[in-house]
Each structure stands twice: as structure tokens, then as C-alpha cells.
């Protein structure tokens, strides 16, 4: 959000006139650890994608390519659900360092 609007400029009833505006809000700085993707172990099962609570697993042409770190909160669900290849996970959580 760039600037606060005056009340007269707001939509009737305080309606939000565009849908899906939360994409502009960043929650990535909540993270204490981050998911790191190892494509060589990925079988493209999409489990990480379907269980991410923050819609933060990036798909390109239906394939996982990485994470949207502006939104990812580092919950670790993706890594936990990842079956990986031959029991080696394609997502590993690593501690954030300042």
C-alpha cells in the first residue's frame, strides 16, 4: 500500500474493490528458517504446493521451481510432506541468518 486514502476516496462501505490484494503484503520477514529446493531429488508430486498455507510454492508450467520468499513464513510443511527421491528430500529447511 503506497499511501493512506482519505475517507471520501474510499469505496462505499469500505469495500476492497480489487480481489487478491494480499499479494502486495509481505510476510517473508516472519521467517526463522527457509525452505531450500534441491531439484535433483524432486519427483514433481506437487505435495509441497498443495499443502503450503501461504501459496508460496512457485510453479512454472505446472512444475515446482522454488519458493516465493516474500510470502513464505518458513513453517516447514512443504519439507515435511516432501517424499523426495529414494528417501532424500527435495526440500530442506535451513536456518535464516541475519
Amino acid at each position: 500500500m503506497s499511501e493512506l486514502k482519505k475517507y471520501k476516496e474510499l469505496a462505499l462501505g469500505g469495500n476492497i474493490e480489487k480481489s487478491g490484494t494480499a499479494v502486495d503484503f509481505k510476510t517473508g520477514d516472519w521467517r526463522s528458517s527457509r525452505p531450500v529446493y534441491h531439484p535433483e531429488n524432486c519427483i514433481q508430486c506437487l505435495f509441497c504446493w498443495v499443502y503450503c498455507p501461504d501459496s508460496a510454492v512457485i510453479l512454472k508450467d505446472g512444475q515446482v521451481t522454488g519458493f516465493n520468499l516474500d510470502h513464505c513464513k518458513g513453517c516447514g510443511i512443504c519439507a515435511h510432506e516432501c517424499p523426495g527421491k529414494k528417501k532424500v528430500k527435495a526440500i530442506v529447511m535451513e536456518e535464516e541468518v541475519k
Binding site: 498455507p53 510470502h71 513453517c75
Partner: protein
């Protein structure tokens, strides 16, 4: 029914950038439900509770569908009014599209304060799907007990202390109450089985008429477990028979999943902070009561399926 590739191709209708706790199961419910519904236009509402509060902080909204804000008690009434208006507009020829109507509500907003609004909407026969995301307490106001809170669970209004060892009462069975309305589709699902849940949403919407799905939703804050276990905690509730996956289609009961071997309920309870006090020897009798209740409910459900 869509597989994961097909769901992915539909695209997300619930965005990131919302303010839920890391690892929140409620936002997984909303995201997967909208993916499942996403092959046609959807209008949604949500009762006040974590899901609505975290997803609609002005001027942001995580809902990438038309969304109408509801109070705590009337999400079912709100969407039924929208659906009635839509029917009228369609008759008049103003609206041509086929639109689906979905209401969400927490356990407090559904089992408790919203029960009469929900019952009324189901009885009137609106074309709507109501999804209760059941995290078993009033989480948004700081973890108070609801009629969905299981026996033995410590909440701020049913604490473990000298007087009581967590909640004294058993939980109410809302799914059966809604099934008693004789509507076309009623089901139970869980966060942690995407396939079961998205299939049920698709089925409920395709059937038309009033439909209800209760989804058990692990809450890392109120239940007290590490955030990465959200889906796992849901599956464990199913494998212990605490939360059977079943559906009632046109009055016919069907269990959708039977665990190969029912796990003891302690496997689920002891991973959660809210039940930690039940490990103490003086609370052994409560554990036995809980296990007995689960086995009895499962047995009764089985009988309904064979009728």
C-alpha cells in the same frame, strides 16, 4: 475429479500475504477448497474467526474471488441471501453465468453461535456449500472452549488445574446434526488428505442444493505442536478413528477410509500441548473414557453404513 496437475492448472484463488500463523491449517482449507471449486465462478463468505480475520485486513484480501464479509454468527445466512438474490437476477436475465456459493465458518461460528443460521439455510434448500473449518476452539480470541473442543483438552476457559483436568464434556457431533437435515450431501474431511477434501468439495458443488463439509483443522497455536506437522496431525486424527472420513450422500452413509490398524488415541493426544496433562497417572481414567468414546462412535458409524 481433478488431480494435482489439473488443480494446479486452475490457479490459486487464495493468495499469500495473509496474516495467519506460520503453518496454519485454516488457510490450507480455504486454498484447497477454492482450487477444487475453481473451474467455475465462486462467491464466498466467512464467519468472523481466524480465517476471516487473517485474510481480510483492509485494504488487503487474500480472496481472489468476490467475497462478502460476515459477522460471527451468520455466514450461512449471508451466503443464502446472496444466493437468493442471484436466483432472482438470473430469472430476470441480468446474470447469465452459473455461479457457486460457498460459506466458511470456524467451529465456534458453526457448532455454537452460527448453528441456527446454518440449520435454517440447509432447511430452506439454498444452492450453497458450507465448509466448517474445525480447529476445536475459539482460536482468534485466544483459545476458548467450544462445543467442538474434545474432552480433556485444556483451553483458557477449560484449563487444566486443581478443579478440572481440561474440558469435562465430550464434543458435540455436528456432522450428524446436519445429516439429520436430510440434505443431498454431508461429509467429514481433514487437512492432511488433499485428495479426500478436494474430491468432496467438487462432489458437493456438482450435486447442487445445500451441502455441508466439516474439516478437521489442526491449529499449531491452540493445539501446541510444531508448525510443520499440520497435515500430519490431521492424518493422525483419522488413523486413530478420532475423525472418520465419511460422507452421507442422499441419506446413504459411506466411510471413505478405514485405517489398516486403528492407532491408540494417545498417539495423537500426546503430541499436543493441550492434552499434555493427560499423561499423568491420575488422569488415566480420562484416557480410557476418551478411547471408549472413539471406539463406540466408530462402531455406530459402521452400523449406519451397513443399513
Amino acid at each position: 475429479m481433478a488431480n494435482l496437475k489439473e488443480l494446479a492448472a486452475r490457479g490459486d484463488k487464495f493468495t499469500g500475504g495473509h496474516r495467519a500463523c506460520a503453518g496454519c491449517g485454516a488457510t490450507i482449507v480455504a486454498r484447497q477448497a477454492l482450487l477444487a471449486a475453481g473451474d467455475k465462478p465462486v462467491v464466498a463468505t466467512c464467519a468472523t474467526g481466524c480465517l476471516e480475520v487473517v485474510s481480510t485486513i483492509f485494504p488487503y484480501t487474500a480472496w481472489d474471488v468476490p467475497f462478502i464479509h460476515s459477522a460471527f454468527e451468520n455466514s450461512a445466512a449471508t451466503i443464502s441471501g446472496v444466493e437468493a438474490a442471484y436466483k432472482s437476477l438470473k430469472r430476470q436475465g441480468t446474470v447469465k453465468e452459473d455461479i457457486r456459493f460457498m460459506a466458511f465458518g470456524g467451529d465456534g461460528g458453526t457448532y455454537d453461535i452460527g448453528l441456527q443460521a446454518l440449520s435454517g439455510a440447509m432447511e430452506r434448500g439454498h444452492n450453497m456449500l458450507y465448509i466448517c473449518y474445525d480447529n476445536q476452539a475459539y482460536m482468534n480470541t485466544g483459545i476458548q472452549r467450544s462445543s467442538a473442543t474434545p474432552k480433556g483438552s485444556a483451553t483458557t476457559t477449560s484449563p487444566n488445574g486443581k478443579k478440572i483436568p481440561g474440558k469435562v464434556q465430550f464434543r458435540k457431533n455436528l456432522t450428524e446434526i446436519i445429516a439429520a437435515h436430510g440434505i443431498p450431501y454431508v461429509a467429514q474431511s481433514v487437512v492432511g488428505n488433499w485428495s479426500d477434501f478436494t474430491k468432496k468439495v467438487e462432489k458437493a458443488l456438482a450435486k447442487g442444493g445445500p451441502a455441508f463439509i466439516a474439516v478437521l483443522q489442526p491449529c499449531r497455536l491452540g493445539w501446541g505442536y510444531p508448525p510443520e506437522l499440520t497435515a500430519e496431525m490431521g492424518r493422525l486424527a483419522v488413523d486413530t478413528n478420532f475423525w472418520p472420513l465419511y460422507e452421507v450422500e442422499d441419506g446413504k452413509y459411506k466411510i471413505n477410509y478405514t485405517p489398516k490398524e486403528r492407532k491408540p488415541i494417545t498417539e495423537w493426544l500426546f503430541q499436543q500441548e493441550r492434552f499434555r496433562h493427560l499423561k499423568r497417572p491420575e488422569n488415566q481414567a480420562i484416557l480410557e473414557e476418551i478411547q471408549k468414546d472413539i471406539d463406540l462412535r466408530w462402531e455406530n458409524l459402521g452400523k449406519k453404513c451397513s443399513q
